[in-house]
């Protein structure tokens, strides 16, 4: 059914259709509307049977999901930013135990300085945790990916994060086709756990594993991720058959078959990138884009195939590995290793800074002319940065950086004395 609906509400409705049995809720902006929506659906009896549990922290949220999943219940939670970091220990634990929990990440920056707006630093900090990571480009895809995520998680017994750009998607009203319950039931069979806490057949879960077997356990976790590379396209195809929509999969190339410049990105910014690609194609530039939908496992082969004919690759990413540069770009570089192509990292949109068509257009023109640096920061206020660097060099006690910069930028907050 077509609805004009907030992203969070669309996600909540899609999750509801997946018949979750335990939902753990702890509020953090910008994922709140999702669990609020789910809570109301549980209260109204629209998701039943289902236990909706208000917990005391994100660490508890995922821990409750761990217990519920190990006891055979389809389990779901959502978080973002600091919340994901606070549950980090449980994030690794859930995948280590092979529990098919699905979790929405309403992507948000990590502080300090505290910031509630969108970038990808939070989910990317968990990229090696053994969770599959899917990134949604639109709210339709966000809704659809959740339906695929439960099936993927349960077939492999691996947890899945569905990463949805905070505010940009979670709070945006868009047209979303919400599927019928029968369609979802036909696509997603009931949860049959691989291992279960069952008094009739008692098992020990979470035993200590020493050096004699730990490597093998970890290897097999990696092996499962590699299996996902094969399964994800299959499930996306099955999804298309069932729902008539192309959602998910490993990657989504756009007008890139013959492009000299290919722009790579995760998530919603691909929408803007595609608009600019269209514009520049009209103007005669040889440019295309590649959305990475499945970031973990990283689809090396697919990415390499999609990029091998490009003359240059521009990775626009909402994350920064301090001390080295791009996070996504590093993986892309590995995918095209040996092809001797310049891979440019463009860090953009940190902490919710808008990535505008205008900025991208200028960036792509410079890329097309071969003028891009290896590492660039889109729309960085260089004057502000240089001023602060000068201040820091002038005296050891140069004050708090974030506050100094707010001062320079002259926001309303900094005027309050």
């Amino acid at each position: 059914m077509l609805k004009q609906i907030e992203g969070s509400q669309a996600i909540a409705e899609a999750i509801g259709l997946c018949r979750p049995e335990v939902i753990c809720a702890y509020p953090i902006t910008p994922q709140t509307h999702i669990v609020e929506g789910l809570g109301q659906m549980v209260d109204r009896g629209e998701i039943s049977p289902c236990e909706f549990i208000n917990v005391e922290s994100e660490f508890a949220a995922l821990s409750v999901a761990i217990g519920a999943s190990a006891a055979g219940a389809r389990s779901y939670t959502a978080t973002a930013s600091q919340g994901l970091l606070f549950m980090a220990e449980a994030v690794y634990n859930a995948s280590g135990l092979g529990l098919p929990i699905v979790m929405t990440i309403g992507n948000r920056a990590i502080g300090a300085p505290i910031n509630i707006w969108n970038d990808h630093q939070d989910s990317l900090s968990m990229r090696d945790s053994g969770w599959i990571q899917l990134y949604a480009e639109t709210n339709q895809e966000a809704a659809d990916l959740h339906i695929q995520a439960f099936r993927l998680a349960e077939e492999l017994s691996v947890p899945v994060m569905v990463c949805v750009d905070g505010f940009i998607l979670t709070h945006a009203y868009e047209r979303v086709d919400i599927p019928a319950q029968e369609q979802v039931d036909a696509y997603l069979p009931p949860f049959e756990p691989r291992q279960l806490l069952d008094p009739i057949h008692p098992v020990t879960i979470g035993a200590m594993v020493g050096p004699e077997a730990f490597m093998e356990v970890r290897y097999l976790a990696h092996y499962k991720q590699m299996q996902a590379l094969g399964l994800i396209p299959e499930l996306a195809e099955a999804f298309q058959e069932q729902f008539g929509r192309d959602s998910g999969g490993l990657i989504k190339p756009y007008r890139s078959e013959d492009a000299d410049t290919i722009v790579v990105a995760l998530g919603s910014v691909n929408g803007t990138i595609k608009d600019v690609v269209d514009e520049l194609r009209e103007a005669g530039m040889s440019i295309g884009s590649l959305a990475i939908c499945t970031y973990r496992p990283f689809p090396h082969k697919a990415v390499r195939n999609a990029l091998e004919h490009a003359k240059r690759i521009v990775v626009v990413e909402k994350s920064l590995a301090l001390g080295i540069g791009g996070i996504v770009a590093t993986d892309v570089q590995m995918a095209v290793a040996g092809l001797h192509k310049p891979v440019h990292t463009v860090v953009a949109g940190l902490g919710g800074r808008p990535i505008t068509r205008d900025s991208l257009r200028k960036l792509f023109h410079r890329a097309d002319a071969g003028h891009l640096e290896r590492l660039e920061f889109l729309d960085l206020k260089h004057d502000v940065v240089h001023e602060e660097i000068a201040r820091m060099e002038a005296g050891r006690r140069s004050g708090p950086i974030a506050e100094n910069i707010l001062h320079s930028v002259g926001t309303v907050a900094s005027q309050i004395r």
Partner: protein, 334 residues
């Protein structure tokens, strides 16, 4: 319980199963006991926790008709019972992390509700996993009144990592992080630490009890009672650790008993935030009798003897006796 049998020697129920009718005998004395924590595990000689866990889990198993799932915090109990690929557990058992056991148990209990089973849920951890790192999740589980029995095996320090202080470590005790030198001339400082049983009571949960391996019949009875109740329940069991306390492994029960009889470890129970019973002390013993048997307090008895510190510990015991009315016969637990 019938009161025709008297246990003169100890005033406890630790002896004499053979004097009782079969129905009155302890769970451990019964042929039907499940050995839920089976033999062959790697606990130290004289481990109070292993003993307490065996009695507690078997009693919970009997009360649940063996329809029970256990969640375990990281710690000695987890490590000594499940060295891969071995496991001592004869019931479904999950270990997730150090600090999230109560939350994992909440999840397991939620799954039982949603599946419509009658399976009961037990959570267990040491004092570190309960009173320190797992405290947030524990309080959350209490506050939501989730249908979980949480048992804390309190050996008064982080024994698994090598005897470091926890918030359950008693004042004056030597641990690896409160060595009686320099900043800690008398061992662990006075005026710190917390009583999780009292904090549990403040959550007004249906049932809170303390118990000890010195009185295993009382322990079994409390677990059985806790299992007859639904909602969040908490039992705090005092379990001496010969290794961490520097005590003779043969003294585990004796030390646990002296802790009770000195007043240092009050044994009581409470329902919905109100104390409903206590285990009376027949004759209070001086704390010195308890302290002297443990190397963690040895610095109090070297020249010069730390008379004032010992007096401070005696004052704590005396306060417990007044506060919990431990010398009054009435209201004896069980």
């Amino acid at each position: 319980m019938e009161t025709t049998i008297k246990f003169y020697q100890t005033d406890t129920f630790t002896v004499g199963n053979r004097l009782l009718s079969e129905a009155e005998r302890s769970v451990q004395a019964g042929m039907q006991r499940t050995n839920a924590l089976n033999s062959g595990h790697r606990a130290c000689q004289g481990c109070g926790e292993a003993l307490g866990a065996r009695f507690a889990v078997d009693a919970a198993m009997r009360a649940a008709g063996n329809d029970l799932i256990a969640c375990n915090a990281t710690g000695c109990l987890e490590v000594f019972s499940t060295p891969y690929p071995e496991s001592s557990w004869q019931l479904p058992w999950i270990h997730s992390l150090f600090g999230n056991t109560a939350a994992v148990a909440t999840g397991v209990a939620a799954a039982q509700r949603v599946k419509g089973t009658k399976t009961r849920v037990l959570a267990q951890g040491g004092d570190g996993g309960t009173t320190d790192i797992g405290f947030g999740c524990l309080s959350g589980m209490f506050e939501r009144n989730d249908d979980v029995l949480y048992i804390c095996y309190d050996n008064e320090a982080y024994m698994n990592t090598g005897v470091q202080r926890s918030s359950a470590t008693p004042p004056a005790a030597r641990t690896a992080t409160t060595v009686p030198v320099g900043q800690h001339p008398n061992g662990n400082v006075f005026g710190k630490g917390k009583s999780v049983p009292l904090i549990a009571m403040a959550h007004e949960i249906p049932y809170v009890a303390t118990a000890s391996v010195a009185d295993l019949r009382d322990l079994e009875a409390k677990v059985t009672k806790a299992m007859s109740i639904h909602g969040a329940r908490y039992i705090h069991i005092h379990v001496p650790c010969p290794l961490g306390w520097g005590a003779d492994p043969a003294h585990t029960i004796k030390l646990a008993r002296l802790a009770i009889e000195s007043g240092l470890f009050p044994v009581f129970e409470a329902e919905h935030g109100e104390i409903t019973g206590h285990r009376a002390i027949r004759e209070q013993v001086p704390v010195e009798d308890y302290l002297k048997l443990q190397k963690r307090f040895a610095h109090l008895f070297r020249n010069p003897k730390q008379v004032e510190v010992i007096a401070q510990l005696q004052a704590i015991a005396d306060r417990n006796i007044r506060r919990f009315k431990l010398l009054e016969k009435r209201g004896a637990a069980v």
